[in-house]
């Protein structure tokens, strides 16, 4: 059976420390001002009945990919395990994928090509976890193969209530936020 990489983000564990953001920047040698993941803090309700959700967000590596559809050169593509990647040698920097993405998960690298989260595929292929997952001090992040029912991510998604971002966009995201 083919692999389907996914990530579970436990919003009950995440404290918004930004370690995932910094480890991603370091691992992927990102330029100043650029990020591939980020922290969102969402407060809802009226005082005193407030709820707070902290999320570590990144590209959702969707199953339906408007970014790949919009790309005129094939630079944006779906790679191993459903990971959405950009081939920088094919990218013209036209930004069609950036306006097509409902999550704002892409940015222009100072070199001109479009940049985004890769699920650290270079590490995953060596048997390691993505940098953000390995660094997370509260173990909020779980990465793995959703097609393998025994994997940590598959078990979390099977047993914990969860949500995806903007399900109405019809993109079928593969980053799950455990609530």
């Amino acid at each position: 059976m083919s692999r389907r990489y996914a990530m579970a983000v436990d919003t009950r564990r995440c404290v918004g420390c930004n370690a995932c953001v910094i480890s991603c920047k370091t691992e992927n040698d990102l330029p100043s001002g650029a990020f591939r993941d980020w922290i969102v803090t969402e407060a809802r309700g009226q005082f005193p009945d407030l709820t707070l959700q902290i999320r570590s967000e990144r590209c959702n590596h969707c199953a339906e990919t408007p970014c790949v559809a919009a790309c005129p050169t094939g630079a944006s593509h779906v790679a191993a395990g459903g990971t959405v990647l950009v081939n920088r040698r094919k990218c013209t920097g036209c930004k069609a994928c950036m306006v097509a993405c409902p999550y704002g998960a892409r940015s222009v690298h100072p070199d001109g090509h479009v940049d985004k989260c890769t699920f650290c595929l270079h590490r995953v292929e060596r048997g390691q976890s993505p940098a953000c997952v390995e660094t997370c001090p509260t173990r909020s992040l779980t990465f793995g193969d959703l097609a393998d029912p025994g994997s940590g991510v598959a078990r979390l998604v099977a047993h914990r209530p969860h949500q995806v971002l903007q399900p109405e966009a019809g993109t079928r995201p593969f980053v799950f936020f455990l609530t």
């Binding site: 559809a69 990218c91 966009a169």
Partner: protein
């Protein structure tokens, strides 16, 4: 109450900030105008009777406009050394890929039509000034004259494709609620025909040609107004995202610009002026076409920036 705090302050990444700047609306404006020029000059030249000298030269405006538009596109593209990658792939799902190839089709078709539109004297004048390019230009004109009928059909088809695609480019990007309307393609085509007619009216065409252009422009303005109304009704009566997108033009930050520049200056005023000109109550001036051009640019500018907020 919902309060969002996002820990990133990156102008490149923040979706509230714009990925597409002035270059894209400028290109959509010039491309739409070129489409209008292709369709309208073909119609004017296919008609029997006298043709002005200006009209015989004006088909060249289409490739010239597309060239300036492509320059704007080139300025927008961030990975400039890799621009040739557009022409190593055709991606049917990507309107931008369709556009890249349509732009390439515009050149041979519109240039051949333009050469065929010249009379003998003009063609000789041009060939004599082109030096070594003279003989191939004479050859191309001969070819164009032999296939004039087919080329006219191709020019109208490619022109309509170009005009439609400038709107479809935006309307397929479902992540931006304001653009997520299939009416946008026809809106941009109608506006392209209108701005194309306006550009042609700025040149010394003869009174009969001017009269026809003003009449066609009135039709295009009417169709564009109805389509814009449908566009707003479609969004405002749709999903929550569509309603908030329509709100940008109906009370939100782009309301004044949209109603004053697009609806007022770009549609209503020139339509009134052209109506009065048609009834010989006003002398034909550059006022109406100039206003149409302002409105056409404003329409694209407002839609591209409002769609990204």
């Amino acid at each position: 109450m919902t309060e969002l705090d996002v820990a990133r302050h990156n102008p490149l990444l923040d979706p509230g900030l714009q990925a597409w700047g002035w270059e894209i609306p400028a290109y959509l404006f010039l491309g739409g105008m070129a489409a209008g020029v292709m369709v309208l000059t073909t119609l004017l030249l296919a008609r029997p009777g006298e043709r002005s000298t200006a009209l015989r030269w004006l088909p060249f405006a289409a490739p010239a406009l597309v060239t300036v538009g492509m320059l704007a596109l080139f300025l927008d593209v961030e990975h400039k050394l890799f621009v040739w990658r557009f022409y190593l792939a055709f991606r049917w799902s990507s309107p931008m890929s369709w556009g890249a190839w349509i732009l390439l089709l515009v050149y041979p078709v519109s240039l051949l039509v333009a050469l065929a539109a010249l009379d003998e004297g003009q063609a000789e004048w041009l060939a004599a000034r082109l030096g070594r390019l003279g003989p191939p230009v004479r050859g191309a004109r001969g070819l164009a004259l032999r296939h004039a009928a087919g080329l006219r059909v191709a020019n109208v088809a490619v022109g309509a494709g170009l005009g439609l695609y400038t709107g479809v480019l935006l309307s397929t990007l479902a992540a931006r609620a304001l653009w997520s309307s299939t009416v946008l393609g026809p809106v941009f085509l109608a506006s392209g025909l209108s701005t194309g007619a306006a550009l042609l009216m700025l040149f010394p065409v003869n009174p009969e040609e001017r009269h026809l252009l003003a009449r066609w422009d009135l039709w295009a303005i009417g169709v564009e107004a109805v389509l814009l109304l449908l566009f707003l009704v479609g969004l405002a009566s749709g999903t929550a995202a569509g309603q908030s997108a329509a709100g940008l033009l109906l009370g939100g930050p782009f309301t004044a610009a949209f109603w004053l520049l697009v609806v007022g200056a770009g549609l209503t005023l020139p339509a009134l002026i052209e109506l009065l000109e048609g009834r010989r109550l006003l002398r034909a001036t550059v006022a109406a076409p100039a206003l149409v051009l302002v409105g056409g640019l404003a329409l694209r500018w407002i839609l591209v920036s409002a769609g990204q907020t």
